[in-house]
């Protein structure tokens, strides 16, 4: 498990483009909204939670494509499936690295973008906590989608069609937590819901993803 973590980490470090692009995408998408909706601070602050969360969801989705496809094409995926180690643990390690490189940067960028959208400052901590829990669940759910579409040629579109409906609960509780905090309401209920979704995803997603991976690997000749 630790060595897979190291391997993924060093591979990701070797080609930074793979995880920097979704971060830039996140920043660009968030800056688009004021241009589209109009700069008035009042409207911006009401839509800020939703905008931040939807862009985070899309950014995570963008970076999911490469989770298994690179390993599939150079043959390492089938070696992982054939190794003595349990595949769900390996999948968990890969997802953690993917999250550290996609979810965490979003998390660190979010305060700046929150101010950009005139999000009330007391909502920033809740925004960060909700993104912390939410993006990990999104990476886990997304891993199932990525595993199901491994090896398919234009898998990007199919991946989002499969993952988006499954990530709606995370989006709902995430954005409403931030909205509640923005309006000085207690956001603990929504955050606990996010935590519950995360625990469910942590327990089920690696299992389902490895089942899908074994099937995906068998497809390729």
């Amino acid at each position: 498990m630790r060595c897979i973590f190291q391997r993924e980490w060093s591979v990701a470090m070797r080609n930074p483009g793979q995880w920097v692009n979704p971060l830039l995408f996140f920043i660009v998408v968030v800056t688009l909204f004021p241009l589209g909706v109009g700069p008035s601070p009042q409207t911006l602050s009401t839509i800020a939670p939703g905008v931040l969360w939807v862009s985070a969801l899309l950014a995570v989705l963008l970076s999911l494509g490469a989770l298994f496809d690179a390993d599939y094409s150079d043959g390492t995926l089938e070696q992982l499936a054939l190794s003595g180690q349990s595949l769900p643990v390996i999948v968990l390690a890969k997802v953690l690295v993917h999250w550290l490189l996609s979810g965490m940067p979003l998390l660190l960028m979010s305060p700046v973008l929150g101010l950009l959208l005139n999000l009330p400052s007391q909502a920033i901590p809740v925004l960060m906590v909700s993104l912390l829990l939410g993006t990990l669940s999104l990476s886990l759910i997304g891993a199932i989608g990525a595993a199901l579409t491994v090896g398919l040629n234009q898998a990007g579109v199919l991946l989002s069609l499969l993952v988006l409906p499954l990530s709606v609960p995370v989006l709902i509780f995430g954005s409403s937590a931030v909205a509640a905090a923005a309006g000085d309401f207690a956001a603990s209920g929504q955050l606990l819901a996010l935590l519950a979704l995360l625990i469910l995803a942590l327990s089920l997603a690696p299992l389902m993803a490895s089942l899908a991976l074994r099937n995906g690997v068998s497809g390729g000749t």
């Binding site: 060595c3 897979i4 391997r7 150079d74 043959g75 054939l82 190794s83 003595g84 000749t221």
Partner: protein, 209 residues
């Protein structure tokens, strides 16, 4: 001794034509089985089914008497599969790649394992390339990095899919020598290759597809 590997009536359809028709063979310890056939005759598919990576429409594969769907874990521990694709990360250098394979087969990363890796690479005359990311290596050299696993992982059954491709004469001799050593101390090898194989001291039985 009981049969190590038993494949009975494996049948694979590709649409309406029959790729593998009731393939049936057994492999015991100390034996080498060479699968021969024209391109596209299902050799790779058969090997992948034996390893549990591929699925057959009909028929079953038994490892030590039990179907591989049930004892997948045991098979994986005792199997070493070299496929068409090298199974090597281009971004990492040979040492890092081989460290992963050692960890996957239970050898925790340590200086001792690193030494094992280094002299395995030296054995394959790759020691000067040990620090170079693999994407800069030629196909033959990448194949040698994959072959280094034969020394490092103590697997019982070797399943090698055309291990000799893009290897030079020296590489060819090295592989044949490894196979005969492995088989002499009780291992089993299932492989496909186009080049004729002379493994000293071992009868190579063949399966025509």
């Amino acid at each position: 001794m009981n049969e190590l590997l038993k494949v009975n009536d494996v049948t694979v359809w590709r649409g309406d034509n029959l790729l593998l028709d009731d393939v049936h063979f057994a492999l015991n310890a100390g034996q080498v089985l060479q699968v021969r056939g024209a391109n596209g005759s299902g050799k790779t598919t058969l090997l992948r089914i034996v390893c549990g990576v591929g699925f057959a429409d009909e028929g079953s594969v038994q490892w030590r008497g039990e179907s591989i769907e049930r004892n997948r874990h045991q098979l994986n521990n005792e199997l070493l599969y070299l496929g068409h694709k090298p199974g090597i990360k281009g971004a990492l250098n040979p040492i890092e790649n081989l460290r992963i394979f050692c960890a996957l087969s239970g050898l925790e990363a340590s200086t001792k394992t690193d030494d094992l890796i280094k002299n395995a690479l030296a054995n394959l005359s790759l020691s000067d390339k040990a620090e170079l990311p693999c994407r800069f290596l030629s196909a033959g050299q990448q194949r040698r990095v994959a072959l280094a696993r034969l020394l490092l992982q103590h697997a019982y059954l070797w399943v090698l899919d055309e291990p000799l491709t893009s290897l030079d004469k020296a590489g060819l001799a090295w592989v044949e020598n490894q196979i005969s050593q492995h088989v002499s101390n009780g291992g089993a090898v299932l492989l496909t290759t186009h080049a004729p194989l002379q493994v000293k001291g071992v009868t190579v039985n063949t399966l025509e597809l």
